[in-house]
Symmetry: C2
Subunit: 292 residues, 2 copies
């Protein structure tokens, strides 16, 4: 973890075996909380400007997948990082337990429907990866079905990428102890208590099974087109800074071009604005100063 940018530090290299025990969920390096919060704010401002250019260009798009175990911080990232973007042109799709209609189709059908339009950003809060995670851990389909899905996912993501969708996949990595602490905070919070269920706790018995399923998904599906990042997520401020930085660096690397005007700006100015200026120069100037 010595790279200059977090984008390199946390990326899973294509084809590399992954052991989650090699990643410290409580990593914070030399970063301090106060500096990270300030940095995240700056990054979020840049993100907003880059989003506006992406929208103007209308050629490429961005897809961000958020995966984590329960209480891993997906909702927090949506609220604090994604929430800084313009809601127009940035859609959040939640992939929960599939409906009967969704189950009647191929597992990527509902996912395809939520991919971003050109110029836009889609956030997947959970994603098609659930179909090789919870589905595998709880044997919801036979191994011969889920085991083929890694290649199917890679094919799908390669096609999206070839058509202009940049893809970033974040695994928010928390420790088992931190999950329990966060559950306890929920118990203490009257506005969040309503969502607690006993299965939140019984699901913890599968912690290691989820770990192995994640290791396989990360290793098999971190590609050049659609990299996986393992984000240390015990510290929320480190997590938010890392994700903001990776999104901003990615958008910057796209070298987005705002299109040229389709009209001659000087013609328009002469034709529609000069007269008005001459007629009531004084008044218009005055008003322009006050109406801001």
């Amino acid at each position: 973890m010595t790279g200059k940018h977090l984008i390199e530090d946390f990326r899973v290299p294509p084809g590399k075996r992954v052991r989650l025990t090699d990643f410290d969920p409580a990593f914070k390096g030399k970063h301090s909380k106060s500096h990270a919060l300030r940095k995240t704010q700056e990054l979020c401002a840049s993100m907003g400007e880059l989003q506006q250019k992406l929208f103007a260009e209308r050629k490429r798009s961005l897809l961000v997948c958020l995966q984590a175990l329960d209480a891993g911080g997906k909702d927090g990232v949506v609220k604090h990082v994604i929430g800084s973007m313009n809601p127009d042109g940035c859609d959040v799709a939640n992939f929960k337990e599939p409906t009967p209609e969704e189950l009647a189709h191929d597992f990527l059908w509902r996912v395809e429907a939520k991919t971003p339009k050109r110029g836009e950003i889609a956030i997947f809060n959970r994603s098609h990866y659930e179909d090789v995670l919870i589905v595998r851990v709880h044997n919801l389909v036979p191994k011969e079905v889920w085991s083929k899905r890694y290649d199917q996912i890679n094919d799908f993501e390669r096609r999206l990428a070839a058509n202009g969708t940049h893809i970033l996949k974040f695994f928010l990595h928390i420790s088992k102890e931190e999950q329990l602490r966060r559950f306890e905070q929920r118990l203490d919070d009257p506005t969040k208590r309503w969502k607690i269920s006993e299965s939140d706790y019984t699901e913890r018995e599968y912690w290691d099974d989820y770990g192995r399923a994640y290791e396989d998904a990360l290793a098999k599906c971190s590609t050049g087109d659609a990299p996986w990042f393992v984000i240390p997520a015990d510290y929320k401020w480190l997590r938010d800074m890392a994700i903001s930085e990776i999104i901003v660096k990615t958008l910057e690397s796209m070298n987005i071009q705002v299109p040229k005007p389709t009209v001659n700006i000087e013609d328009i100015r002469r034709k529609y604005h000069s007269a008005a200026k001459q007629d009531k120069h004084g008044e218009a100037r005055h008003k322009r100063r006050t109406r801001t």
Copy 2:
């Protein structure tokens, strides 16, 4: 304009004839810009909390329609007011020129598809009202078709309201001079120039026709279930404060209830948390303090 709250000042009373000349687009009353900006920030914070409760309750929803002439500030409201909400549970739908598929259906078909789910908020950037505005001004369908749409819209909105959707409709009212000033600012802004077209200017010849079409829509479709508000919009800070306040007052008036937990909180605490606490009390306490 003497009511205590802007929600009363700007509401169009049901059944009342509307003359836009009675509404000053440059109204600011006794409000100052600095106070309004601070107030809007507070209102946006309340909005976020109320949105979270609405989401938790999952019984009712909110639909906000934004209508205005070009440069009236719809995008600004989306960015600065709506942008303060959690993007999860708040969708922005843009109704642009209908696609062939949309035109092959009834005019409310595409609108129905974007109505908010229970617990969520939908923002319509333009809306079904275009079908009695631009469609009427440019004779896109015969009068005998569009003239029936006011009742059809009222029926549609009444059904939504009866099913738990609270509806707010904002007409952002700017002056013709302010529109020209904003067009000129676009000419000066390299990041916004690309969207200028000559039709922005030629459409100004229909200013009065649009005014009459708006007056009819406001008068015929401001109902108890789905009120219209005429928002003075020459001053962006007044516009944003007014809309934030009306949204907040509306959500407050809904008396939203966060559901009760489905589990016994104390049982869960004893069963899953006490042991952990006893085992490593010191360490857990220490960690909780640092991981924030």
